[in-house]
């Protein structure tokens, strides 16, 4: 009984991690159909921002919830203005350019900080489920995932900005005819996506080591969660994250974390083949 609860809890935190990892990418992909291969590096920058400000004395939670998103949001702004905006509509070219960006960011961080892994211990201690010890921080991560998803959903559903974003997503020409500037919305969306990714990078710091190449570990998972999810930013990524997180944890429990990862990736590849438009291409089509 306690074991089931533990596994259930682990599944939830795995799903939460996936959601946090992918939501920023999902916002960008959902809006502009851009595949940002520098996504892992945005996570990495958020992580570095968090670690550095914490080591400089700032409170960990302020660092991860404020400094990281703001910093990476600014980076996102520069990237959008400097590179992405020339490549709208050119999906392959955007993939290539963002890949170059990812290499460049890894290179810069390695040059400045070297390759040693830094870290911050997980705060908040632990609690027990029956005879098993588990981390309270995982509860925080689950809570953050829920807050972020609910926040984005609410923004899209209830605010004026959210309405403009949805309109531009569906029909940029029409939105332009109604006075909205699609390039500005793309810029805002890219910055928002980057900020969310920075936030995720910060939140993940206590559970993963921080190194210049940490992004590579996350990029494939984030991608397939977003693509597997389909066009709906929030519902899609959440459903895909749930499915993949579940598979990952179940396989991990039976074998090793590596096989869990591999099982996740393989099931995603199969799913893209079976549902090329993602989950929300077929089910829940009109959701946000």
């Amino acid at each position: 009984m306690a074991l089931t609860a533990l596994i259930g809890f682990n599944v939830l935190s795995s799903i939460a991690a996936l959601i946090l990892l992918s939501i920023g990418l999902g916002v960008i992909f959902g809006m502009m159909k851009i595949i940002n291969l520098a996504h892992g590096e945005f996570l990495m920058l958020g992580a570095y921002a968090t670690v550095l400000s914490t080591n400089a004395g700032l409170n960990l939670f302020v660092a991860m919830l404020v400094v990281a998103p703001v910093f990476v949001g600014l980076v996102g702004l520069i990237v959008e203005r400097g590179i992405i905006r020339f490549l709208y509509g050119r999906m392959i070219d955007t993939m290539l350019a963002t890949w170059g960006l990812s290499l460049g960011l890894v290179g810069i961080i390695t040059t400045i900080f070297g390759t040693t892994v830094k870290g911050v211990a997980a705060p908040l201690g632990g609690f027990s489920i029956g005879p098993y010890q588990t981390s309270t921080y995982s509860l925080f991560m689950i809570a953050m995932a829920i807050i972020v998803v609910a926040g984005i959903w609410a923004m899209l559903r209830f605010t004026r900005f959210g309405l403009i974003v949805r309109a531009t997503m569906q029909n940029p020409a029409m939105a332009a005819a109604l006075g909205v500037s699609p390039p500005r919305i793309y810029m805002a969306t890219f910055v928002l996506g980057a900020a969310l990714t920075g936030l995720a990078g910060g939140v993940l710091v206590p559970v993963s080591g921080v190194s210049p190449t940490m992004g590579a570990a996350y990029i494939a998972r984030a991608f397939i969660t977003v693509i597997g999810g389909g066009a709906a930013m929030v519902t899609g990524s959440s459903l895909a994250a749930t499915l993949f997180g579940f598979i990952d944890q179940v396989v991990t429990f039976k074998t090793t974390p590596v096989f869990g990862q591999v099982a996740l990736l393989i099931s995603a590849v199969i799913m893209i083949r079976v549902l090329p438009q993602g989950i929300t291409g077929r089910f829940f089509r009109r959701s946000l």
Partner: protein, 343 residues
């Protein structure tokens, strides 16, 4: 129907490559030849990417998967068999079979171009994760321990066919590599003049029209992808021989990116472009590697971004247009004489 200029271009390239093949050992010592062999291995994998992307229209972000599979297959086979002749064959066949299976999965599922990129990227990440975790004694195939993240050291090099003790020396290995590169290039050049090659290019131009004419694009893409996988596998085998060593970094994203950069810089839509791009970039990397101030990833990243934004067609086509416009001003050529990008 190969225009005369294409045939002359082909002969010129083959001649140049033969000059390099026999000339290089005269001007450089053993170290230079050893360096050359890794350039050749990279040029070959670049050629595979250039072929499937520039002519087949297949955007694979994971050619490194076949490159690495070729290397690992050779390593495992030669450690078990002793003589290197069959391992060399396996290093081509196994990646090709894997490419055929993956290609069937992707193309017969009508996956769109960008998603082919995502899936191939994911496959290479899967291979990386799997091979990385095979450290420890229980992970071995026959006599070959897989080594996990440490890789596999002390891999026996290619030997004269039939005699396992007669390993090729660096100069002989160089000739083998260069010979194989020329052979692969010539084969691909020839393939593009056949009906198969021309239909492949047509499919890249307009898949719908090719279907409307009765061609099945899925089959053509599958065959092109398989050939690309086999060539990349061969390159991986040569790479393993160069260092006597292989590790999971061959499956890394950095490796995949490099292969794409070779093609972009050299010129998409040509065969010689990827070769030259690979040699140039590898040369730049080896130079950067000797100094500490600038990071290799940073340079590569900047190069990739600059080329995508400013020179998306690559260096060779730009050069070729420059040469053509110079020669056209001297001869009076009818307006619009076709010069298809097939070199």
């Amino acid at each position: 129907m190969t225009p005369r200029s294409d045939w002359r271009g082909f002969c010129a390239v083959i001649a140049a490559m033969l000059v390099v093949m026999f000339g290089l050992p005269q001007v450089t010592g053993l170290f230079g030849l050893v360096q050359a062999t890794v350039f050749i291995a990279m040029a070959m994998v670049a050629l595979s990417q250039g072929f499937i992307w520039g002519f087949g229209g297949i955007m694979s972000f994971g050619q490194s998967a076949f490159f690495g599979l070729g290397g690992y297959t050779y390593a495992v086979a030669v450690l078990n068999m002793g003589d290197s002749s069959l391992p060399l064959v396996f290093a081509v066949v196994l990646p090709a079979v894997f490419a055929a299976l993956l290609g069937y999965f992707m193309f017969y599922g009508r996956i769109s171009d960008a998603y082919v990129g995502v899936i191939t990227l994911t496959v290479t990440v899967i291979l990386f994760n799997v091979m990385n975790s095979t450290a420890g004694d229980i992970y071995h195939i026959g006599n070959a321990p897989l080594g996990g993240f440490n890789g596999m050291p002390s891999i026996p090099p290619l030997n004269m066919p039939g005699d396992a003790s007669a390993a090729l020396d660096p100069e002989q290995f160089y000739y083998v590599c260069m010979g194989l590169l020329i052979a692969v290039y010539a084969m691909l050049r020839w393939l593009l003049t056949t009906r198969f090659g021309r239909v492949t290019v047509a499919i890249r131009e307009n898949e719908t029209r090719a279907m409307l004419l009765g061609y099945d694009p899925r089959l053509y893409k599958l065959i092109v992808f398989t050939i690309g996988g086999g060539i990349a596998g061969l390159a991986g085998c040569l790479f393993t021989n160069w260092g006597g060593f292989i590790s999971p970094t061959v499956f890394g994203l950095s490796q995949s990116a490099q292969i794409i950069i070779f093609v972009l810089v050299g010129g998409l839509g040509t065969l010689i472009g990827p070769i030259l791009g690979a040699v140039a970039i590898e040369f730049v990397i080896s130079v950067i590697g000797t100094q500490q101030t600038l990071n290799a990833d940073l340079i590569l990243g900047v190069v990739l971004v600059v080329f995508v934004l400013l020179v998306p067609q690559g260096v060779v086509p730009v050069l070729r247009h420059a040469v053509q416009s110079l020669t056209q001003r001297r001869r009076r050529v009818p307006v619009g004489a076709a010069k298809e990008a097939r070199s």
